[in-house]
């Protein structure tokens, strides 16, 4: 019962926070709400025994990526942004994509409901600790996908440098 209540609290708060984030006119305020949202996500991870993921969620998303967002937003002229209308001219295209992706998510949620439980159980995680479990999975079982993902990130970094540097000797 307690579990359901806690999950319910997290779910409701997260969804309402997400709505608040996208409806604020002042981007700075939506960033503050997004910060609270990240904390709730981390809390949810903690209830799933995924403590490492919770810590990483806060360090990487709240601590680094959101600060970068802030950094960019601070360079914008907020006073002008506040006066602009809320919707861009191209909003119908966005709406189509939103509807399509919503349909996709609903289909995948209902289609995948009880399949693929995975072979790592919570009791296993509790035995060795979440960090060890994640590390073993990442670097033993899924080493190749992990390396591929990091390669993609490397490509992005190189691309950013190419864009930032005007001429490369």
């Amino acid at each position: 019962m307690l579990n359901q209540i806690i999950f319910g609290y997290f779910a409701v708060t997260m969804i309402s926070l997400a709505l608040i984030v996208i409806t604020r006119k002042n981007i700075m305020h939506s960033i503050v709400y997004m910060l609270i949202l990240f904390f709730h996500i981390a809390g949810l991870y903690l209830f799933l025994n995924a403590e490492f993921l919770a810590a990483i969620q806060i360090i990487v998303y709240a601590g680094a990526i959101m600060v970068l967002f802030l950094f960019v937003i601070m360079l914008l002229n907020l006073r002008e942004e506040l006066r602009k209308s809320r919707f861009a001219i191209t909003w119908p295209i966005g709406a189509i994509f939103v509807v399509l992706s919503a349909v996709m998510i609903i289909i995948s949620v209902f289609g995948n409901r009880f399949a693929n439980v995975g072979n790592v159980k919570i009791s296993d995680i509790e035995k060795v600790g979440h960090t060890v479990a994640v590390g073993k999975l990442l670097f033993v079982e899924y080493l190749f996908p992990f390396e591929v993902a990091s390669l993609i990130l490397l490509v992005a970094i190189v691309g950013a440098i190419v864009l930032a540097k005007k001429e490369i000797k």
């Binding site: 360090i59 601590g63 600060v67 950094f71 601070m74």
Partner: protein, 333 residues
């Protein structure tokens, strides 16, 4: 009943830790002014009480009763929120620091990661304060702080990876235990590279001189908290000093052996074993904090591009090298 007992123990622990730390924060300011004063052939505070010992009390009372000025065009909710975020992030990291064997508010497995997460959240207080004040100086301070914290957090985290590899744990208790049973008794010698990177990044992460660009007095008045006054200002100051205490205790726990003394010292001077662990911890902590003041009195402020170059071009490669060496050494041994 048992639950109530546990909760009350935790509450007592929190009260003890917070009061002791706040006392230390107050006297850290006094100590800093004294040390830097003497290093510049001045005297430091001397008027309030004998040897100026009541100076922090006077400062506290003054900041309580000062007028709380809020800029007219500031973003009020964010302006109110920013110092609270700052001090909350600093204070909550205290929860996972073991001050001596068995004394820790919350012994979680992710001690180091929790501290890193909280210290990165401290940047929000600074950035939001800089933005909400609606002042150019504060804004520039906030911008600088955002960039600085992001770049130095990387090297701070990476420099600790070597320690985590050697100890095989994120738990600060386990790290101290592993150190006391290691060859040198503490990790500062085998992790000398990591220790160096950690020191530099910790100074940068807490915005202390010579990396105090977000609050560079000569350029930005007071930087991100230029518009704050009264108690909110005091909150920012307290957050800075708590951050210093946390970084120092992280250095003590991860590199200097925490509350333990190396076994060879105990072998040479057996009577040192009678000294309680908390004394060792506090002595090492004071040494680290003194080091903060010492470099503040010695080094001039870095230029901004120098700061970024140091972070990205020297510290991050060094810490990666340290991880590589540690990993290989661990594989061989």
């Amino acid at each position: 009943m048992e639950l109530l007992w546990e909760i009350s123990i935790i509450v007592i622990k929190i009260v003890v830790v917070v009061s002791v730390v706040m006392f230390h924060v107050a006297y850290a300011t006094y100590f800093e002014r004294k040390v830097i004063g003497r290093m510049q052939m001045r005297m430091g505070p001397k008027e309030v009480g004998p040897l100026g010992i009541l100076q922090p009390v006077a400062d506290g009372i003054k900041s309580f009763f000062k007028e709380d000025i809020i800029p007219l065009n500031s973003d009020k909710p964010v302006f109110y929120l920013a110092p609270v975020i700052s001090i909350m992030a600093a204070m909550s990291a205290l929860a996972v620091i073991p001050f001596f064997d068995g004394f820790i508010i919350s012994n979680i497995n992710l001690g180091i990661l929790f501290i890193l997460a909280m210290s990165s959240l401290g940047a929000y207080g600074i950035v939001l304060a800089g933005w909400a004040s609606n002042s150019k100086y504060a804004f520039l301070g906030g911008l600088r702080s955002a960039a600085q914290v992001i770049s130095y957090e990387v090297s701070l985290g990476l420099s600790l990876v070597g320690v985590m590899l050697l100890a095989g744990s994120f738990n600060l208790n386990d790290i101290v235990e592993a150190q006391s049973s290691s060859v040198f008794g503490f990790y500062a010698i085998p992790q000398i590279l990591g220790f160096f990177v950690f020191i530099v990044s910790a100074v940068a992460e807490t915005n202390r001189p010579p990396f105090d660009l977000p609050e560079a007095e000569s350029e930005l008045v007071a930087g991100y908290f230029a518009e704050y006054s009264g108690f909110r200002f005091a909150l920012f100051m307290a957050a800075e000093y708590i951050g210093m205490i946390i970084m120092s205790s992280l250095a003590v726990l991860c590199f200097l052996g925490g509350w333990t003394v190396p076994y060879y010292v105990l072998y040479l001077f057996p009577f040192l074993g009678a000294v309680p662990g908390v004394v060792w911890f506090i002595l090492k902590l004071y040494a680290c904090i003194f080091f903060y003041y010492w470099i503040r009195a010695t080094l001039p402020r870095f230029r901004y591009d120098q700061l970024m170059a140091l972070g990205w071009k020297l510290l991050i490669p060094l810490s990666l090298l340290n991880i590589l060496i540690t990993g290989i050494a661990k594989l061989i041994i």
